[in-house]
């Protein structure tokens, strides 16, 4: 009972943190593009909730989490406001959009995989849906700002989300409590993204193989 409770609390806490950092990534991008305050808030909200909404629509969890309580909305708006006000200070991080995005990616991949497992999807498909939860928010943010989504143009992105999801699936297969796999999953994703961003880690690409 304690385990289950702790696991549920952990997933909820992760979801709220993921919402916050993804919203921040959207807000910074919107502010950089000189959108007005409400446009920034809309982009922050869309970035924060799109991955979870895709997952919830695909597993039949209707209405999606983002619309069934006000927590997500409130956190996205707070993060959006912060991003709007502080965006030029955040630019001292070499690439604030990508750093916040990397944290959200791992968190949502883990939380999305857990939720898909709860809804009875088989583990490989739950991992794919976890990956979708992770990459969906950044995808929506980038499509709406008319760029090729980060998932398709940057290195080791969807793969990092999938790695996090597979940690969760492995833990599930061995019957471990989620609390033991969730944070390592997030950490693995974040590590892979940071190595891709700053350590030059690459997958082969069609061009480079020539």
């Amino acid at each position: 009972m304690n385990h289950v409770l702790a696991a549920t609390l952990l997933v909820r806490a992760l979801n709220l943190i993921g919402t916050f950092v993804f919203a921040l990534s959207g807000a910074v991008l919107g502010a950089r593009r000189e959108m007005d305050l409400f446009g920034v808030l809309v982009l922050a909200f869309v970035t924060a909730v799109s991955g979870g909404i895709m997952r919830d629509v695909l597993i039949g969890a209707i209405p999606p989490e983002a619309f069934s309580s006000w927590h997500t909305l409130a956190i996205a708006l707070i993060a959006g406001l912060l991003g709007f006000v502080l965006y030029d200070r955040l630019e001292i991080l070499r690439n604030p959009v990508q750093i916040f995005d990397a944290a959200g990616l791992g968190i949502f991949a883990v939380a999305g995989t857990q939720k898909a497992l709860e809804y009875g999807l088989n583990p490989p498909m739950a991992a794919i849906l976890g990956m979708v939860s992770g990459i969906g928010g950044g995808m929506a943010r980038d499509v709406l700002t008319a760029q090729v989504p980060i998932v398709l143009r940057t290195d080791i992105y969807a793969l990092a989300a999938l790695a996090a999801a597979l940690v969760v699936i492995a833990g599930h297969a061995f019957g471990l409590p989620p609390a033991l796999t969730d944070l390592p999953g997030v950490a693995l994703c974040l590590f892979l993204r940071l190595m891709a961003l700053y350590g030059g880690w690459r997958l082969p690409s069609a061009h480079r193989k020539r």
Copy 2:
């Protein structure tokens, strides 16, 4: 009983008008981009139904209204044909896409909020879903034509839709019949958009605050 009937008829009439004007905005944009006739019709249809489809998928009204009767399809096709044939005459309106869009925005925000309330969402979330119904069609139209959606690049857009939705929510809270709030909601949205387009009304933006 009469009240309920009148309200239902009003929402249905609004939906049909919103479908028409949004389809027209898509058709004019498609014709301007030199799409062929069928491409124009597809873009008109997508613009007209995307907001409602997003709302219906999110509240679990499956199949969405747009696919459960032929009215929406028929009206979108008529508007699409008109837009295709008349698009260069419509250009005498300074900005026909944005004017038709503004009318559709308010209408769908109001009708979407009413429908979300009917489906039992709590009022703040119903307002957000109303806003989504309003902004979804233009978002789909603009993403498909590879531009940043109007909701993110123009002033007082999502805010105007939200204002219309909040009028409906307020009326609901005070137990007023929808007929008393729907038209004022649409009018408020249209007024705010026209002031943004022609009156220079602005929200602060990240750039301008410096």
Copy 3:
């Protein structure tokens, strides 16, 4: 019984072939844009499943086919790998993306219409949903690579999908077994697309009528 079984097998086989060719079209496009291996696989998967997912979400078939068995995923990944490795050889086809796309378009339009009929939609709406299944994958692929979708910029595209869907609807109305209409439907779509690509067939466009 034999008829029903044969029809079901035919639709399933068509779906797998459609998945393969659409995934190939996405993989070739991704490789040409110098995406890395995993990015190519993601784009191949998204192209292969988006049309079917749109259809399944809209008719309430949750979780969508693409997530309820591993066949779709496996085939999309194989096609994606092939596209990644062979993409420069495939370029000897004058336009490999559009040729694979044309085959997938007809196949998914037919299979999508059949599925929508099974789920009880009325025939005209089933045809529209079949068209959506057909055009959805290419739409997602093109939006994610920041181009105007092929359905809006090329000739006789959505119309070819609709023609295939209408063949299925006509067969359904006359009580013919699906096996008799599915392949002719696919062939009609492919013929129309090839005539548009290589035979110069055109619909009127807003510009040309002047």
